[in-house]
């Protein structure tokens, strides 16, 4: 079953800005999908429409088969949202925030209290259940928003940059938590600017730019489209000039560091052979950028160039 079906969705704001220009997107049940795009691309508008915080201009949205035009309440009951901005009642106690949210979804208080203990414990917030939300750290507030979004056990969880401003340790523990709830059956849509996060967590990726979906495929298929990767090689000995290796474009960054663009069809074996032949030994190697990041930048740049071309 499809968790989400979007057809020809458009949104034009009152100030005339066309945030969405007709997007189509399907997310299968159980999927972990990344929705990526530069700032202002239309990600948050799309999420706003799914959660009814933004009114669409035209198009169709179905959540687990429920049309948001005709079965909005049922569609909403399937959804959980972790928004980009902190939108907690900062003067309320942690436990009350999640239990009240459960109540809005029609969950009796007794059940809500049990669930609150489970989710707050899993997100390491149970000890702070009687604290006022204002007193929590930034990372704790983000985790509280996740607990709040899960309290009615939604079938589709939407996270809009959930780890923004969160330190790496907490971020990784949040990743483990999200992997677990996805493994337990919750469909997840994630927007993030940390592309390493998307590559690590998501099996599907949709890239949105200028209000249009410009890529929508399995993560593995998308990464395969990356025709050129840039590697950084650290040499054991210093070199004074750039070694010539036919078929590879090498750049000397400093006496012990070389940067090289490698086409995926060519591979990297020949490069190592050539360097070894010249008496150069590589002590370590890394991708210059995260692979998804590199692909993302290329796709967005290409799209921008096409738009610029059309304008001319």
């Amino acid at each position: 079953m499809r968790a989400l079906e979007i057809r020809d969705l458009t949104k034009t704001y009152a100030n005339g800005i066309q945030a969405l220009k007709g997007i189509d997107l399907d997310v299968e049940e159980g999927e972990f999908c990344a929705l990526l795009g530069p700032n202002g691309a239309g990600k948050t508008t799309t999420i706003g429409i799914l959660t009814s915080l933004v009114t669409k201009t035209s198009g169709k949205v179905r959540i687990f088969g429920y049309d948001t035009d005709t079965d909005l309440a049922l569609a909403k009951s399937c959804l959980g949202l972790v928004p980009q901005e902190i939108n907690l009642n900062l003067f309320e106690k942690v436990l009350n925030i999640v239990v009240t949210q459960a109540g809005y979804y029609g969950i009796p208080r007794r059940v809500a209290l049990d669930r609150a203990e489970r989710y707050l414990s899993q997100l390491h917030l149970w000890d702070r259940r009687d604290s006022i939300a204002r007193s929590l750290s930034g990372g704790m507030k983000r985790r509280l928003m996740i607990a709040r979004a899960l309290i009615h056990e939604p079938r589709l969880l939407i996270l809009d940059e959930p780890t923004a401003g969160v330190d790496i340790e907490i971020r990784r523990s949040m990743w483990d938590f999200l992997r677990q709830i996805n493994a337990d059956g919750t469909t997840i849509i994630l927007t993030t600017h940390y592309l390493e996060e998307a590559e690590s967590l998501c099996r599907h990726v949709a890239i949105i730019d200028n209000g249009l979906i410009i890529e929508n495929d399995r993560m593995s298929n998308v990464l395969r489209k990356l025709s050129v990767e840039t590697f950084v090689l650290n040499l054991q000995e210093e070199v004074s000039s750039i070694p010539e290796v036919p078929g590879y474009d090498l750049r000397l960054m400093d006496p012990t560091t070389i940067e090289v663009d490698v086409e995926s069809r060519r591979g990297i074996n020949d490069l190592f052979s050539a360097l070894t032949g010249k008496g150069l030994r590589v002590s370590s190697m890394r991708n210059k950028a995260n692979r998804l990041e590199e692909l993302f930048i290329r796709l967005v740049d290409r799209k921008d160039a096409q738009l610029e071309e059309r304008r001319r």
């Binding site: 309440a73 009951s77 949202l81 939108n87 029609g106």
Partner: protein, 261 residues
């Protein structure tokens, strides 16, 4: 509403919202309950006890006794209005209104839940001011049903009005303009401190255009048995306001005015 499929869940949501509003009122009692009690005590001392002694009787009652129902009503009006406007606009401003908006709870229950909060605070403050009034004068309702129904319905009217104000408000100034420039003048000119029979005929007719006059007088009729206007007419006006404001507020919420982009 979403039909019988989710009615049980929606009622749970409604009860949750009322409980949240009540908890808020009680939690910040220093802001919600104490100020009206102090203000009304000052009114009783200054207007009732000190100045009132020189005014003498009004409609056959001591001045203190005459203004007590009006002062109770004034506190109910300002507090029911103020509770909804501050609670809903505060949630809008801090964006935790989104907790409700993303949930399947119907707009009607969001509206009624906030109105219930306003009514609860209005009646709590009204009861407190009544207790204070009893230190200064005797109040034994002549028509208990009229007293209770009018105070309840008036609290509903001003809770709905507060909701509409909060829906349209974009900044904090917007939630103080109506209470300052509309509500307070209408309340002061709504027969709280005097009988309109004291006014020249022209101003008596002008006063009849003030809806608060009907509410204050109907409540005074319930307690003292005297009124400047017909009680039936007062019920018609109060109920008309409730129906009109309810549907207006509901349409605004359904259209997402002020709450959805």
């Amino acid at each position: 509403m979403t039909g019988p499929v989710r009615l049980k869940e929606d009622l749970t949501g409604f009860a949750t919202l009322i409980s949240k509003e009540y908890t808020r009122i009680v939690r910040i009692w220093v802001q919600t309950l104490v100020p009206p009690a102090i203000t009304m005590t000052l009114y009783f001392v200054i207007f009732g006890s000190l100045i009132g002694r020189r005014i003498g009787e009004m409609d056959g009652f001591g001045y203190m006794q005459y203004i007590a129902p009006g002062l109770i009503m004034m506190s109910v009006i300002t507090n029911s209005y103020g509770n909804v406007v501050s609670s809903f606009f505060g949630a809008k401003f801090a964006r935790h209104i989104e907790e409700m908006l993303v949930s399947p709870m119907p707009e009607a229950f969001i509206l009624l839940g906030h109105v219930a909060g306003g009514v609860i605070r209005g009646l709590l403050v009204g009861a407190l001011v009544t207790l204070i009034a009893l230190f200064f004068t005797d109040l034994k309702p002549v028509h208990p049903f009229v007293t209770l129904s009018v105070v309840f319905l008036t609290a509903v009217v001003f809770s709905l009005a507060g909701m509409i104000n909060a829906i349209f408000a974009k900044k904090f100034d917007d939630i103080s303009i109506i209470p300052t420039f509309v509500l307070t003048p209408l309340t002061y000119l709504g027969g709280v401190f005097y009988s309109i029979s004291l006014l020249p005929e022209f101003w008596q007719k002008v006063s009849l255009a003030n809806p608060i006059l009907y509410m204050v007088n109907a409540f005074r009729y319930g307690i003292l048995g005297v009124s400047d206007i017909g009680i039936g007419q007062a019920y018609v006006i109060i109920l008309s306001f409730i129906i009109g404001l309810y549907f207006f507020a509901l349409v605004l919420l359904k259209r997402g005015i002020g709450i959805r982009e």
